[in-house]
Structures are given as structure tokens and as C-alpha cells.
């Protein structure tokens, strides 16, 4: 098994590692870097639980090898908050509207939503559903997730949305 040196930036920190060619990116993040917020759900690219931001795009880390991420800049769920111990607006909206239950798909949902909100702060419901359409959730039926992303879009775009008005 060939091994390869890689260097990449994850959540603002630079890592160098030597990895086997067959090590997937999700296993590298979880097992080598111990960033266990990213989850492996199906390992064949359908469920989206392993989604990360790679150079700004939401991608499935189970469908990439770690070696392919050499030189990349990655954000995982652990890197979404502006600083340790805080929550991003998007994360806070997920909490406020209970846009999760078991939480297993949640990191991938947040990544998909973050990717959408980076492009548009006024997405339609259909655009939101498209953005999370590749992320499976078995608990929520998606409704509270869609509403949380709508709320986050409104808050981030500076529209004045009071707390707790979506109950």
C-alpha cells in the first residue's frame, strides 16, 4: 500500500500527514484528526452525513481519498462557529427551531445549508430543498430544517426577525 504525504488546512489549522492511498477523507478527518463531528452514514455517497466544505464547496468526504485533499482548505462542522464555544447564526437557528433529533445527519445538513447561504441569503423554499436534497434525514421530515435555514437566511441578511416567532 503506497503512502503519501499531504498537507491541508482544516478549520483554519494546517495539518501534515502521511496517509495510505486508500484512506478516505472521512476516515482521515475522523480517525486521524479526531474531528468526529463529520459522520459516515452510507459510505457510498448518497446520505450526505459526511459532507464538508472543501475549498468552499459542499462535498462528500466518503467519496474522496485523503490524498486527493492535499492542498485543500476544509471546513467541518467543528469549524462553523465563529470562535470556540459559540454558535454560528445558522447553528443557532437549527437549535431555536429544533431542526434535528438524533443529530447524526445534522453536521452534513449544516454544511449543505452553509454552502447555500454563502451563495444566497434569500433562497426560496425550493432552493433550500434542492440544497439539502442530497442529505438524508430519517428523523425530521426536513420541515424544521427548511424553516431553520429560512430563518438563518433572514437573520444573516439583516432582516429583523424576532426570536421565537416560528413556534
Amino acid at each position: 500500500m503506497s503512502r503519501h504525504e499531504i498537507s491541508l488546512t482544516v478549520n483554519g489549522r494546517t495539518y501534515r500527514a502521511t496517509v495510505p492511498a486508500r484512506l478516505t477523507l472521512v476516515d482521515f478527518l475522523r480517525e486521524e484528526l479526531r474531528l468526529t463531528g463529520t459522520h459516515a452514514g452510507c459510505e457510498h455517497g448518497v446520505c450526505g452525513a459526511c459532507s464538508i466544505l472543501l475549498d468552499g464547496r459542499a462535498v462528500r468526504s466518503c467519496l474522496m481519498f485523503a490524498v486527493q485533499a492535499d492542498g485543500a482548505t476544509i471546513t467541518t462542522v467543528e469549524g462553523l462557529a465563529p470562535e470556540p464555544g459559540t454558535l454560528s447564526v445558522l447553528q443557532d437557528c437549527f437549535w431555536e427551531l429544533h431542526a434535528l433529533q438524533c443529530g447524526f445527519c445534522t453536521p452534513g445538513m449544516l454544511i449543505a445549508a452553509q454552502s447555500l447561504l454563502a451563495k444566497s441569503l434569500a433562497p426560496s423554499e425550493q432552493e433550500i430543498r434542492d440544497a439539502i436534497g442530497g442529505n438524508l434525514c430519517r428523523c425530521t421530515g426536513y420541515k424544521q430544517i427548511v424553516e431553520a435555514i429560512q430563518l438563518a437566511a433572514a437573520r444573516l441578511s439583516g432582516r429583523n426577525v424576532p426570536a421565537n416567532n416560528h413556534g
Binding site: 495510505p20 486508500r22 484512506l23 475522523r30 479526531r34 474531528l35 468526529t36 463531528g37 463529520t38 459522520h39 459516515a40 452514514g41 452510507c42 459510505e43 457510498h44 448518497v46 446520505c47 452525513a49 467541518t76 462542522v77 467543528e78 462553523l80 462557529a81 454558535l87 447553528q91 437549527f94 437549535w95 431555536e96 427551531l97 429544533h98 434535528l100 433529533q101 438524533c102 443529530g103 447524526f104 445527519c105 445534522t106 453536521p107 449544516l110 423554499e125 433550500i128 430543498r129 434542492d130 439539502i132 436534497g133 442530497g134 442529505n135 438524508l136 434525514c137 430519517r138 428523523c139 425530521t140 421530515g141 426536513y142 420541515k143 424544521q144 430544517i145 427548511v146 421565537n164 413556534g167
Partner: protein, 798 residues
């Protein structure tokens, strides 16, 4: 009890546990990493039925990094067979196949190595010598005399068969104007959580203790695990502070855990077994009900249902487990929300060469509800009556509660007519009908579905003694303990893991309500199985009732202690005291009072100020028996199956693409009454999710086997889980009929949505198909199935 009577209950409050999930800081079993931990990969049978003549592991063991290869013979020698829910001692089941492999994907050997990758490499090198046998795949074929026998020692593929008759069924059929018979088919699907099952086991030789972290949702899991491993219960410590990535019933994983525990003990090294997706789908023993209903119904010309005969044949797969009992729970709601005078129910559980079943959300009730609602639609069509009017005429009326059905279960409370009307109003039925008729006029296939269904809740395990008289279970208790520390901080301890149901919020809200303390300030922790009080895990929509009730019980005991301490300190009887926000004052002289903090300090430091006979400290426990529990089934099978009954009405609009057979759902309204909602966001979330799951069961999800017994839908490319595109924007209309049996009027709600969605969607599809003269009682109604039916009908019309 009116909701406004509450301070924290029934209010919008942020769930306590959500924060760790959105921060990516939860701890699932796959996040548990122990030093020196080894990894397991599995060798799976490629045959549905085969004799195992030999296993050659030499090449695998020769691979660097491989530490062991375990086979069924090792487990048969060192562990006890897993228990089934039946009185059938010759149905022996071990984590690995022994002598016979009984389904495709069954685990035949386990490879233990220093990494999962090496374990998988080695698993490919294990040579198994199989002698293929003729399998039996179809459940109706399995009960024919010439069928291959899946468990030769048992001697028959019939695992359980019993017919109960409750009331004058024959007389009612003879006396009725009309009779109707039909078959309904619920194909095999399951809950399929996004997290697969996993377990980490570590044997501590110095302490003689097996530590277990598992993705678990299973009653009596620690007991059964210890028993199978031939260890005393106090030598197995199951850690309940593991976040479970979805379960909805299936995360039982006993075989995985026995295997991991055995390996960890054998090697003296921590071991991790994580299913990959294929192992989960075909070898995880977690598929769901696979049921054929034959229904006969007798009714008057006005459409009043008088009597029912239901024959339910269920294919539980290659091992019994608790699967046959999923035919038992529906006994407690066997006629749904309707007044029916008499019922005959025959339950038949058969074994075939397919993956075993596990408990699935609703434990057999959703298939039964689908069959009952199909019946209501067929009766209406038979008589030319309106489907909704027919339901109105048969629903149990508000003033008839408590209402006892023929099978002996009493429904606690309900207002079904009002919930139905509220849902119809919210859905704007006239507008929906106009939309449907307009779509039809434009040549589309459009329909409206309606379903009125029950969600029995409370998780009394009365189907156990019903299906196995040697099992005299009459309690399914839940416990909670609370302590208030020296400085007044509250810690609540619960006794199971959770898989998304928000139990920390539930417990904190209830305790906050009783003690009048902000739930934000209440810490909820989880005991491990050695420190836990008796508990039966979050199954059967029971935790609002049972954990909520136990937490309320413990909090009330604490409040009594607080009042007793205050009474002594203030020199007045409790009857003259007022409790407010945890502080206590004299009713007549409110200036004379003692604070929460001072009472806590007395309890922890000042024994001389405690009432005589009171223990120091401030703590209480409560172990709650299921309301209405405590009674064995009667000889004729009549039984109080569950205590509380939630009700839901679904109304859904659907259109079917004539060419592709794809169903798209439009307006979807559900009227829901589960009594008092402790946290409405949590209840609503589970209901939305249950509907999404029901959409999958109705339209997409099926573990499909070909004629040779190969599973052909073992990935997410072919076992289709609804995405945000398939699930519409569901609207819930709440109603609250409190239960008289529970602490705050709450009923269960964890299975809500799933119990009615398949029935309602089936109704909508059938309404859409009706202009073609088609009717279909088979789920899932996949695009392929519908497309072919429509094409055939269209070609006949042309």
C-alpha cells in the same frame, strides 16, 4: 388539565440536548476510541440457505495485523443462544451462523485486526466451504408441507400461529347486510437509521468487568447481553451516555454486542464492531414487518361496521427474535378508532431464508392501520358512500371514553370527530376536491387520501405473555432519580440512552414544572447499567408517559421533603405553607419564608434542623409501573395492551405521473391529538419525521429479494429513502385530549405520523387510480408497480 395551567410544559423551549449536536460535539459509538482498540470485519454468507462444511482461516490469519478469526463454533461453545420472544427452545440463534447459514448476508465468521481495512482484507481471505440448500423465500410457500425447513430442529416454518375470537363474530357476520373480503400486502421495509449499528467492548481483567458502548435502543439489553455471555449482570456495564444516531425501534444489536463482548473478553483487548451500510442492510437483522393481511368485514347497508376477521401472515425472516410479537401489539388497537362489535384475529409468524426482522416504529401497528383504512375505503366504495362520512359514522364518540374494544383493551380518552373536523378545515377539503377534479379534467391522475389511526402508547409489554404464557411479564417500569446538591443545583438521572427523542428536555421540563425551577438550570445525566434503576428504554412511544411520569413522581417526593424541612424551620404545619419557585413561605405571613438555597443547605449540613426520621441530603427516586399494567392476558387473549391512545387524521393530495408511475404529494395535513405535549417542537418534529418515514414505506422503501433469495436493495441506490424533494411541507393541526392516566395528561408520540401516513397515501393513490377502475392494496406503491398498472389499464381503455 388545560395547557395554560403549566409553567414550562407545553411551551416552546429550546431542547437541552440540541446544542451538542449542532456543535458537532455529540458522542456516537463510532466516536469512542480506546487505546489499542481492535476492529472487526465480517464474513457474510452469499447463499440464502447452505450447510457450512468447513471454514479455513489460515490465509486470513497469516495477514499482518490480523489477531483472530472467530466462527460460530466458538460462540456455541462459549455463549448461550439468544432468547426469542416465543416458547420455542429449539429455535437457536447465535451471532455467527453455526452449521447452517440461513440468509444472504448472515455472518459466518468475524475477523479481528488492528484496523478495519486490514480486517476487511482478511475477511476476503477466509475460505468457507458451503453446500447450498434449496431456500424458501416466499412466506406462503413456507407454510406448505413440501417447503424446506429453515430450522430443522424446530420442525416447521411456522413459529407462531393462534386465532382469537372476541365477541359473536359468526353471528355478527350472519346478521349483517354486507360482507367484503380483500387482501392487503405490506412488503418488507424498515427504519434504516442513517447511523448504522455499532458497539465497542472492553474487558477489564483486573476488575472482571465488561464495558460496553453501543448504539442501543433495547429493553433489557444489559441483562440479555450478560446472560448470553454467561456473566452475572453486575459484570457488564453498558454506558447509556452514547448518542444514538437514529433507531425508531431497530437498534437492538444484541448479536453484534455478544460477538464484540466475546472477542473483547477472549483477547483481553478493546474491540469495535461498526456495521458498514451493506452489513446493516442485509446482515444487521433489522428489517421490518413483511405482512399479508386477509380481511373480511361485515357491515350494514348504512356502512356501520359490525365485525371483522383479520388473518395476518408475517414473514419474520430466518430467526424469530421479537419479530413475531409485532403481530401482538396490534391486538390492543385491532379495530382502530372505530366501534366494532366483534373481531376474529389470526396471527401467523413464519420463518424464511431472509434477513431477520427487528422491532420497527409502531411494532406492527402501522401495517395494521394500513389494512384497516384500506378496509374503510373499500366499504365506502362498495356502498357508494363518502369515505369521510363513513368514518364519521363509525368513529368512537367523545362521550364513549373510556372505551373497551372486543380484544379487551380500553382506550383512555379521545375526541376523534373533532380532530377529523379540524384537519378537514385546515386542509380546506372543498379546495382540495376542486384541485383534484381540475387535475383530472386536465387528464391527470389525482387523488385525495384520508386516514384515521391510533397510536397506542406506553409500552406495556403485554404481547410477551400473550404470545408466550411462560413469560409472565406484567410490568414495564421506568425509573428516574433526582438530587439537589448542597448549593441547590438539580441533577436528574435517567436510565437509558436516547436516539433523538429529546429525553433530557423531557425530564428537565417535567422536573422544572413540579419543582417550579427553570428547566435550563436542571442537569440531566444518564446512569450506566450498573448504577441505573430498572428501565425499559424508549420503545413503544412510552417515554413521555413513563420517564415523564417517573420524573414527576420523584420531583413530587422531593417537593414533599422540601416542604417538611420548611415546616420544621418555620414552625408551622405543611398545610399552612406556600411553595413558590422552590422557596417556601407562611401562607398567612409571606414575609416569613425560607429559600430554596437555605433548604438545600439544611438537608446537606444541618441534620439537627431536619425533621425527625428524614435522611440527610435531598434526593428521591421513583420507579413507575405502566398505568393499567399489572395484569396477565385473559385465557381468551383479552388484554390491556397499552395504556394511552393518541389519535391522528391524515389528509393528503397526490398526483401520479401516468408515464413513470411516480407519485408526487401535495397538500398534507395531519390532525394530531397526543394529549398534553411536554415540548411541542419535539412532538411536531417526530410527527413530521414519522410521516416522512411513512412516505418511504408507502412509496419507495422495500427490501426486495429475488426468487433465489438474493437481497437486491442493499444500498441507498436501490433502497430509496425519501429526501427533501419527496417529503412535502406537512402541516400539523394540534388537538389536546388529556389522558386521565398520566401525570400531566400526556400520551406517547414517538411513533406519530408513521402510523397513519402509509394508510393515507395508499388512499390517495387509490383515489387517483379509481377513474381507471384500478385498486391496489400493496405497499410500497413504487413507480415501477404503478407505472405498469397504469400502462396496462390505459392499453385496455384504448
Amino acid at each position: 388539565m388545560a395547557e395554560s395551567a403549566f409553567r414550562y410544559i407545553a411551551k416552546k423551549r429550546r431542547p437541552k440536548e440540541d446544542r451538542r449536536f449542532i456543535a458537532g460535539a455529540a458522542r456516537y459509538v463510532a466516536d469512542v476510541a480506546l487505546p489499542g482498540m481492535l476492529h472487526v470485519a465480517l464474513v457474510a454468507s452469499p447463499y440464502p440457505f447452505a450447510r457450512i462444511r468447513g471454514i479455513d482461516a489460515r490465509a486470513a490469519l497469516g495477514l499482518p495485523g490480523v489477531r483472530a478469526v472467530v466462527t460460530g463454533a466458538d460462540l456455541v461453545a462459549a455463549t448461550d443462544a439468544m432468547m426469542s420472544g416465543l416458547d420455542a427452545p429449539k429455535l437457536r440463534r447465535y451471532p455467527l451462523a453455526h452449521q447452517l447459514a440461513r440468509y444472504v448476508g448472515e455472518w459466518v465468521a468475524a475477523v479481528v485486526a488492528e484496523s478495519r481495512a486490514v480486517a476487511e482484507d482478511a475477511a476476503e481471505l477466509v475460505e468457507v466451504d458451503y453446500q447450498p440448500l434449496m431456500p424458501v423465500i416466499d412466506p406462503e410457500a413456507a407454510i406448505k408441507p413440501e417447503a424446506p425447513i429453515v430450522h430443522p430442529d424446530h420442525g416447521s416454518n411456522v413459529l407462531f400461529r393462534k386465532k382469537w375470537v372476541w365477541g359473536p363474530v359468526a353471528e355478527d357476520f350472519a346478521a349483517s347486510d354486507h360482507r367484503l373480503a380483500f387482501r392487503a400486502r405490506w412488503h418488507r421495509s424498515s427504519t434504516v437509521p442513517i447511523e448504522t449499528f455499532g458497539v465497542v467492548a472492553a474487558w477489564d481483567h483486573a476488575r472482571q468487568l465488561l464495558d460496553i458502548w453501543a448504539s442501543i435502543q433495547m429493553p433489557k439489553y444489559p441483562d440479555q447481553l450478560a446472560r448470553a455471555l454467561r456473566l452475572p449482570g453486575n459484570a457488564v456495564r453498558v454506558h447509556f451516555d452514547v448518542d444514538v444516531g437514529g433507531s425508531y425501534g431497530v437498534k437492538r444489536g444484541l448479536k453484534h454486542s455478544i460477538l464484540a463482548g466475546f472477542i473483547a473478553r477472549q483477547l483481553g483487548v478493546p474491540v469495535r464492531l461498526l456495521e458498514d451500510r451493506l452489513e446493516n442492510m442485509r446482515g444487521g437483522d433489522a428489517q421490518g414487518p413483511d405482512r399479508i393481511f386477509d380481511i373480511e368485514v361485515a357491515f350494514s347497508k348504512e356502512g356501520i361496521i359490525r365485525a371483522l376477521k383479520i388473518r395476518a401472515l408475517d414473514d419474520c425472516g430466518a430467526h424469530a427474535g421479537r419479530a413475531p410479537l409485532q403481530l401482538g401489539k396490534p391486538v390492543g388497537a385491532i379495530c382502530g378508532p372505530y366501534r366494532v362489535n366483534s373481531v376474529e384475529y389470526e396471527a401467523i409468524s413464519v420463518t424464511t431464508n431472509k434477513t431477520p426482522q427487528e422491532a420497527v416504529r409502531g411494532f406492527g401497528q402501522s401495517p395494521t392501520n394500513f389494512a384497516l383504512e384500506t378496509m374503510m375505503d373499500r366499504v365506502a366504495a362498495h356502498l357508494g358512500l363518502d369515505r369521510i362520512a363513513l368514518r364519521r359514522a363509525n368513529l368512537i364518540a367523545k362521550d364513549q371514553f373510556p372505551y373497551t374494544i372486543p380484544s379487551g383493551s380500553t382506550y383512555d380518552s379521545g375526541d376523534y370527530h373533532t380532530v377529523l373536523e379540524k384537519a378537514l378545515n385546515a386542509a380546506d377539503l372543498p379546495a382540495l376536491l376542486r384541485q383534484r377534479d381540475g387535475a383530472r379534467a386536465a387528464g391527470k391522475l389525482a387523488g385525495i387520501g384520508i386516514a384515521c389511526c391510533l397510536e397506542p402508547s406506553g409500552g406495556n409489554s403485554a404481547f410477551e405473555p400473550l404470545f408466550n404464557p411462560k413469560n409472565e411479564t406484567t410490568t414495564w417500569m421506568e425509573a428516574c432519580s433526582i438530587k439537589i446538591d448542597l448549593y441547590g443545583a438539580v441533577v436528574v438521572s435517567m436510565n437509558t440512552s436516547s436516539s433523538g427523542q429529546g429525553h433530557e428536555t423531557l425530564a428537565a421540563t417535567v422536573v422544572g414544572e413540579v419543582l417550579e425551577r427553570d428547566p435550563e438550570t436542571v442537569r440531566v445525566v444518564r446512569a450506566d447499567s450498573l448504577s441505573a434503576l430498572p428501565s425499559n428504554s424508549p420503545v413503544g412511544s412510552r417515554m413521555a408517559i413513563m420517564l415523564g411520569g417517573a420524573a414527576a413522581g420523584a420531583a413530587k417526593k422531593l417537593k414533599e421533603s422540601i416542604l417538611a424541612i420548611a415546616a420544621k424551620k418555620l414552625g408551622a404545619p405543611v398545610s399552612e405553607l406556600v411553595y413558590q419557585n422552590g422557596d417556601v413561605a407562611l401562607r398567612q405571613d409571606p414575609a416569613k419564608k425560607i429559600s430554596w438555597d437555605a433548604i438545600a443547605e439544611i438537608a446537606h449540613r444541618k441534620f439537627h434542623e431536619l425533621p425527625e426520621g428524614m435522611e440527610p441530603g435531598l434526593q428521591a427516586t421513583h420507579v413507575l409501573e405502566v398505568p393499567t399494567g399489572g395484569t396477565l392476558p385473559a385465557a381468551d387473549g383479552r388484554v390491556q395492551m397499552y395504556p394511552c391512545y393518541a389519535f391522528e387524521t391524515h389528509i393528503v393530495y397526490a398526483e401520479i405521473d401516468r408515464i413513470t408511475g411516480q407519485v408526487s404529494l401535495g397538500r398534507y395535513v395531519v390532525g394530531h391529538d397526543c394529549g398534553t405535549m411536554i415540548n411541542p417542537d419535539i412532538v411536531h418534529g417526530m410527527t413530521y419525521g414519522g410521516i416522512a418515514h411513512g412516505i418511504g414505506a408507502a412509496l419507495y422503501e422495500r427490501f426486495r429479494y429475488d426468487d433465489t433469495g438474493q437481497l437486491v436493495s442493499g444500498t441507498f441506490m436501490d433502497y430509496l429513502i425519501p429526501s427533501a424533494h419527496e417529503v412535502p411541507n406537512v402541516e400539523i393541526v394540534d388537538h389536546c385530549t388529556p389522558s386521565p392516566l398520566t401525570a400531566f395528561g400526556q400520551k406517547g408520540s414517538g411513533e406519530a405520523g408513521y402510523l397513519g401516513a402509509p394508510a393515507a397515501i395508499s388512499g390517495a393513490v387509490n383515489d387517483a387510480l379509481s377513474p381507471l377502475g384500478l385498486k391496489l392494496a400493496e405497499l410500497p406503491m413504487t413507480p415501477g408497480l404503478l407505472g405498469d398498472l397504469i400502462a396496462t389499464a390505459d392499453s385496455k381503455h384504448k
